[in-house]
Amino acid sequence: MTGAGALLLLTLGAAPPEDVTIRVTASSDVLSRNEVLQLGFHFPSRPERMFTPPVLPAFDLVSGPQEAVSIVNSSASYTWTFAYRPRQEGDFTLGPFELRAGDTVYRGPALTVRVVKESERQRALREALLKKVFVRLDVSRKQVFVGEQVVRTISFHEAVGLRLPERTLVPLSTAGFLEKPLGRQETRQEEIDGVLFQVVELHSALFPLAPGRLTLGPAQVDVKVAVPGRRRRGDRGDDFFGSAFEEFFGRGSYEQVRLSSEPVELEVLPHPAEGRPEGFGGAVGDFELEGSAKPATLRAGDPVTVTLKIAGEGNVENLSPPRFTEVPGFKVYEPEVQVTTSTEGRRLEGTVTVTQVVVPTSESATELPALAFSYLDTGSRGWRTLSWGPTKLSVSPPADRGSGIVAAPGERPAAAIPVLERDILPQKERAGLREHGAAWFESPLYLGGLSLPWIALFATTIWARRRERLRGSLALRRWKGARAAARAGLDEAAALERAGSASACYGALARTLGRFLADQTGVPPMSYGGAGTAAALVERGLDEERAQRVETLLLDLEARAFGGMDDNAEARRERRERVEALVTELDRRFPEPS
């Protein structure tokens, strides 16, 4: 087993060790003489035997131990707490602690505690707090050239556990610099003099604009702290779990405190005059240049795309990349410039891509001249020039000499046409005027009209669904068409009535009514007739009075139809009207079939 493994085993208490390292905490860094200091010993496993409480210089043991168990991430830790009262004012180092419990020795680090007069307690608490929260300002380099990248880091340190309610970074003046933020803030932990700090860092790339001495900062952070209140009589601060911060913040009103870092002086040097390249465009940093010309084999009149990439560290957004302006034997087009940047690695980096099309006007144009890019190299602190080319091209005569810019039929190949001057293109002849104001597609009519197709689609959807439902359900079709079918039956009965056929008329009326009821209730067409009709209708939800009327009328009609009763026309008409009234009354009174 390695030493580290053994130590880990001992510390975790997997096997009873001889020596165990423990954590020791004090309830406050600063206390007055009438307060009590709570000293907590944190064990990874419960001590099997009691140990003798440590004797502290200038402190009297008041009480203890109090035992507490806390469970974090399924792991328990045990805290034994002793209360001490100070006997005098002063700065005291308590420990290092060595507690013996049987065969086991528990060792804890030393703590520093200040005992002050009650009147000095507030100031001392504040001083103690501000040692636990501070801000720093750093730069990557203090002597730089104009335009050189300087990474500025503002780091805000806050002791772990402080939990300040508010922290606000005061905007830092960057007059004299061009500033580019480098990503989002970063958080890390750092231990300083035994205190663990949560550190929040903000990085920015700064590019000085002019030579001279420049001062950055100080960086400032506003934090909200509580102004400690005066203790009440009898309030002896016995709450062990109140840390110095909680004690400080918990008993008074809040106050905003501005934390400041030290300012940073920068010396910005001018660009060295010696050896300054002619084509220098202000680039400072560390760059690489690569280029390509494609295709390398082509006919005169065909385009060649030249791509030049400058990649590296520095202010790539303000670079002046090289480009072709006039090349004898070539027609040169305006380049397209694309800039991409990255802030990974806490530096501003990027790539400038220049894409330019050139066209050889004859097969004699076989070489693109070199392009050079000069910059002030921050690595060697001197000038550097990168170049690409010259580039050889294999240019063959154009496929059709009769067309294009190269030559007329039968003529010798045209010489290269140099670009003499560039100028704006001419006026437009067609006015294409329209009245200024809201465009047609912003008018309320248009915007309202946009909804019409959707309304039509919605209505069609509902209609189509209804149609599909009707198609798929015979019962529904019968239920919906019951009245129309009854109307046809009544017309037939009326015709028979006019023909003087009483029996047939009553038969038609009885069938019409019976079928209407069957259609409405979703049963086979001949289901209703005679006695039992009322009961069947009541079963399907019709009230008794109506059901009884229906049954009485049906029985009457059937009796007259099958009994061959030949009464007068008035009686036939009166019964036909009763059937008609019943059909109107009962139409859709029964539930719609699902």
Binding site: K428, L433, H436
Partner: protein
């Protein structure tokens, strides 16, 4: 004071109560401006074209020609202003692109707008290469096709067009609708601006008492962040400052 400056003063101070123009009169002024330009009477050409705009008419050609006139008068700021306005109406005009590039090269600061990444240019191809009017017409067309396809599928469930056609139309409609919305957002008046005086100091606050943070020259383009009486807050290349409202024009 130069002739161009006098003309600029006259154009800026005049026309506060513009007379409404008839379409024929606007057309006549446009033709007259073309003739004046060809005769190298650039001031007259600019005046006629400004009158067309003041009279309530506009077109990409009017802004383009006006940009040319201002360019000839040695005012690259106003030239860029009108080229940019023309660009909104005719984003694929090659002549316009060339002239705008030349006008930018004629400025002191030679600021160029940051190029979008290739993926964004691919994704927003329609937004960047079409005017709002074109996008709106295509959007209506695509939506009409989509609704027709949906109606056909609804009315003829068995013989209707395939579902994939409706999905393609829906995707196209959505893309065009989003492009139209984005284009409308980008083209909102006053989103961008341009310096129209020889030199303009960008201060740290909206007043003469604030320090000069940086300095821009005629033709510098910027993003407008805020307007207050007499002052405009701008952003250019990650720098922010307040410039006098009279030094700049919203595009």
């Amino acid at each position: 004071m130069s002739r161009a400056a006098l003309l600029l003063f006259a154009l800026v101070t005049a026309g506060r109560t513009p007379e409404p123009l008839t379409p024929d009169r606007a057309q006549y002024l446009f033709q007259r401006s073309t003739e004046a330009y060809q005769a190298k009477r650039y001031e007259e050409a600019a005046r006629d074209l400004e009158a067309v705009l003041e009279g309530g008419f506009e077109s990409a050609a009017v802004h383009y020609n006006l940009g040319n006139a201002w360019f000839r008068l040695g005012k690259p700021g106003r030239a860029i202003l009108h080229y940019r306005r023309a660009e909104r109406l005719a984003p694929r005009d090659e002549d316009l692109r060339v002239n705008l590039g030349l006008a930018r090269e004629a400025t002191v600061d030679r600021l160029r707008p940051a190029a979008s990444p290739a993926w964004r240019r691919g994704l927003f191809w329609a937004r960047d290469s079409m005017s709002r009017e074109e996008l709106a017409a295509l959007f209506v067309g695509a939506m009409g096709v989509l609704v027709a396809l949906l109606l056909a599928r609804r009315l003829l469930p068995s013989r209707g067009p395939p579902r994939v056609a409706a999905r393609v139309a829906a995707g196209l409609t959505l893309a065009l609708g989003l492009s139209l919305g984005a284009r409308t957002w980008m083209d909102r008046p006053g989103r961008d601006g341009v310096v129209v005086v020889a030199e303009s100091d960008a201060r740290t606050g909206p007043g003469e008492e604030f320090a000069v943070h940086f300095r821009l020259h005629e033709g510098a383009e910027f993003r407008v962040l805020e307007r207050r009486p007499g002052w405009t807050k701008i952003e250019v290349q990650d720098r922010r400052g307040w410039v006098k409202g009279t030094d700049v024009e919203g595009i």
